[in-house]
Amino acid sequence: MSEKQIDEFSGVSTTGHEWDGIKELDNPMPRWWLIIYYATIVWAGAYVIAYPAWPLISTATTGLLGYSSRSEMKAEFAAANAAKADYIAAIASKSVTEILADDKLRTFAAAAGAAAFKVNCVQCHGSGAQGSPGYPNLNDDVWLWGGKPQDIQQTIAHGIRFTEDSNTRVSEMPAFGDMLKPQEITQVANYVASLSGKAGDTSATDIAAGKELYAQNCSSCHGDEGKGNQEVGAPNLTDAIWFYGSTPAAIAAQIKAPKHGVMPAWGVRLGDTAVKELTVYVHSLGGGE
């Protein structure tokens, strides 16, 4: 390629590159194309000066405009918080009952509560608040400590059997394994199972004996008819919901050596507003009274 080769047909010089007899023409670029090309190079240089670009050892150049995605995020955060400020203030100043009565406020609080629930509550109650054995299902209509808004608020704020909070809800069922004989425990368990139709083929005499034992030992908390008592968190034994299982064996185990769950108090940790939002959300799950 010592000599400039001119393509005979087009009159344009070739680059000297040739593949299978096809030669590459050395057409110059259109001027406007080159102008845009150089403009992008200038733009890139200006961008590097104006915006954070060069990585340094522990940081990066800041750029003349002082832009950073973190400060942009902070500004957006502040704007979002400012937009929510009215709602937050209203939630802080109103009672849960008042929030529930206000359609817009309820919708906002429920959405905020759902977000707080997903961070703080799903570990025990499940992402759909459906619970699991020992952790109550918050969708149903059964409430150990009451399902009215203020009951739910009290439970969330102060927890259950959470000794660090002096206002926590406390009650413990005695372990009857030390007080009743094994046979008696079976009889009481069978009777309790029969209250919700789960006793199976237990004999009538056994159930009668269990009923008597129940009246002596259990009715003070669970009531004469086994309807429970929300004042002390005693479960209703006649409904279809069983915290620790509904078979006579599971019931017997619970009578013998009861398990007791603990829920932390969230009032101090999350603040009053978040507790109210959580209350509205939990109340809206379909079981709120």
Binding site: M1, S2, K4, M29, A240, S284
Partner: protein, 519 residues
């Protein structure tokens, strides 16, 4: 010169040797299209008026939709996600209409290109229309071709400066109006115009105008044919749709060659002469700056102005029109075979003329029947089918819709009395700009009842809800079924929504989930 034997000479050339050097870039070769006159030019004026008219005036057409919807005939309301096209209102989920229109546009392009060639490029492409408009201004200010060439070559003077500034100013005004017209499609036009003028419009409006002003001015005024040649992918794509029965602007060299500027002299000397008098009128009028006599070229936008120019020359010299014409490749090749006696000799125009110098009967001419081949009919059928499908969908589409989302987490809830409850999110879509009273009813699932969050009532099997005009209403509904009714872990039932006054209704087949051991 040194003549020392020790010094070796090399056969080497510097990479940037002055002999090899070329300029880095090629400046645009200016094109000064002459004003053409004739039937195609008239057709182009009409198309230009119609297309520009549609573009500038459409946003100002009003269409009364009542108190709850905007009164603009064509409105793309991005903020509220509604598209209004006269009586048609499109919701985002009905976007398939737009997809359908795009498919029709595609088939339409295939249909048009396979029959009449690159008609899109020549007549209706915005680039062509605006370049044409900008050329009108250029001619009005600077004069026609020769005057412009002279002005361009002239040294700078006050007169030249005034002309140039005037031209660019008018171009810029057109560009601003072009960018300005675009944004009126996206907001209420009179309000937006007032806000624009008083400086109260959204920044995005000004930015859009600025961008479109810039592109219109640069593409239409400065770059012109270069946009088609270098930037646009369409010429490459469209060329692939042509076949031997597609009409293209063709120089009929079988009757034009050999061309001669001194035809009479040559003919008197007994030489074969074609109809082309080599006047270059076809080159002078070409907005792309090409010579159609060099054959089909990528740059040709088939605007047919060269046909107009050539026809007027043929009229003057008393020859038949159509030396440059719309012709198909099949027809051209037949005539070429005729003129070259099957390709065995060079073109002799005498073979295609009769004794009187008119074109012979043997010359193949265009016939509409040839365009109606199977390919055309298939495109036409596909285009029509999609169109009819869209029309059917449009006429039968629902203006009241219900969507139901069953809660999945938890799938069901056991209540204290043993009954099972499922949660559903019901979305009611009132797609007309009038408020509606909608009845939501649960069908099948005997024994079950409903409750609606926020309505504070136990609704049994049916409830009535007000839905705002042109809005979506979301309801949280719980359906409860006694345990003894539950036959299987999946029961199917139906939500029916109905507007009792218009009898419009929609239904949704929902599923009621229960535990496996539900029975």
């Amino acid at each position: 010169m040194l003549d020392t034997p020790e010094i070796e000479t090399f056969d080497a050339t510097a990479v940037n040797s002055a002999r090899m050097r070329q300029p880095l870039y090629a400046a645009r070769k200016k094109v000064f299209p002459k004003r053409a006159e004739g039937s195609f030019r008239r057709f182009k004026w009409i198309v230009m008026l119609i297309t520009l008219g549609i573009y500038y005036l459409t946003p100002w057409l009003r269409w009364n939709r009542g108190p709850y919807a905007p009164d603009q005939g064509v409105l793309v309301d991005l903020a509220n996600r509604r598209f209004y096209f006269f009586p048609i209102e499109i919701w985002p989920q009905e976007f398939y209409f737009v997809a359908g229109l795009l498919i029709m546009a595609g088939f339409g392009l295939f249909l048009v290109t396979s029959t009449v060639g690159r008609a899109w490029c020549g007549y209706t492409c915005p680039q062509t229309v605006w370049v044409d408009l900008f050329l009108v201004i250029e001619r009005a200010v600077e004069g026609d071709r020769n005057a412009r060439i002279k002005l361009d070559a002239a040294p700078w003077s006050a007169g030249k400066l005034i002309k140039r500034v005037t031209k660019h100013l008018i171009w810029l005004i057109i560009a601003v109006l072009t960018g300005g017209a675009w944004i009126f499609y996206f907001a209420d036009a009179p309000t937006l115009l007032r806000n624009l003028v008083t400086g109260h419009a959204e920044p995005v409006a000004y930015i859009t105008i600025a961008i479109l002003t810039g592109t219109t001015y640069v593409f239409g005024g400065l770059m012109r044919e270069q946009v088609c040649t270098y930037m646009c992918p369409w010429p490459r794509i469209q060329a692939a749709m042509l076949d031997e029965n597609s009409l293209t602007v063709t120089y009929n060299d079988w009757r034009g060659e050999p061309r001669s500027r001194h035809a009479k002299k040559a003919a008197a000397a007994g030489q074969a002469v074609g109809d082309c008098v080599d006047c270059n009128a076809c080159v002078a009028v070409c907005p792309m700056g090409i010579d159609i006599r060099d054959g089909q070229q990528l740059e040709c936008i088939t605007c047919a102005l060269c046909i107009d120019a050539c026809n007027s020359v043929m009229d003057k010299i008393g020859r038949e029109r159509g030396l440059i014409s719309y012709a198909t490749l099949a027809e051209y090749q037949a005539n070429m075979a005729l003129a070259t006696a099957g390709g065995t000799s060079t073109i002799d125009p005498r073979r295609v003329h009769d004794a009187n110098g008119r074109l012979s009967d043997k010359v193949a001419t265009f016939h509409l029947k040839k365009l109606m081949g199977p390919r055309t009919l298939i495109y036409l059928a596909a285009w029509t089918l999609v169109g009819l499908g869209l029309l059917y969908a449009l006429l039968t589409r629902d203006r009241l819709q219900v969507n139901v989302l069953a809660d999945r987490n938890p799938q069901f809830v056991v209540l204290s009395d043993g009954s099972i409850r499922n949660g559903y999110t019901i979305k009611l879509l009132n797609m007309i700009p009038e408020p509606r009273t909608i009845t939501v009813t649960m069908q099948n699932l005997p024994g079950a009842d409903m409750s609606v969050v926020g309505m504070d009532q136990h609704v049994e099997r049916s409830f009535v809800v007000e839905v705002e005009p042109d809005k979506l209403k979301t309801l949280k509904v719980y359906v409860r079924q006694p345990r003894e009714n539950i036959a299987s872990s999946r029961q199917h039932f139906t939500f029916v929504v109905e507007d009792k006054s218009s009898h419009e209704s929609d239904r949704y087949e929902a599923t009621f989930d229960a535990p496996e051991t539900g029975k």
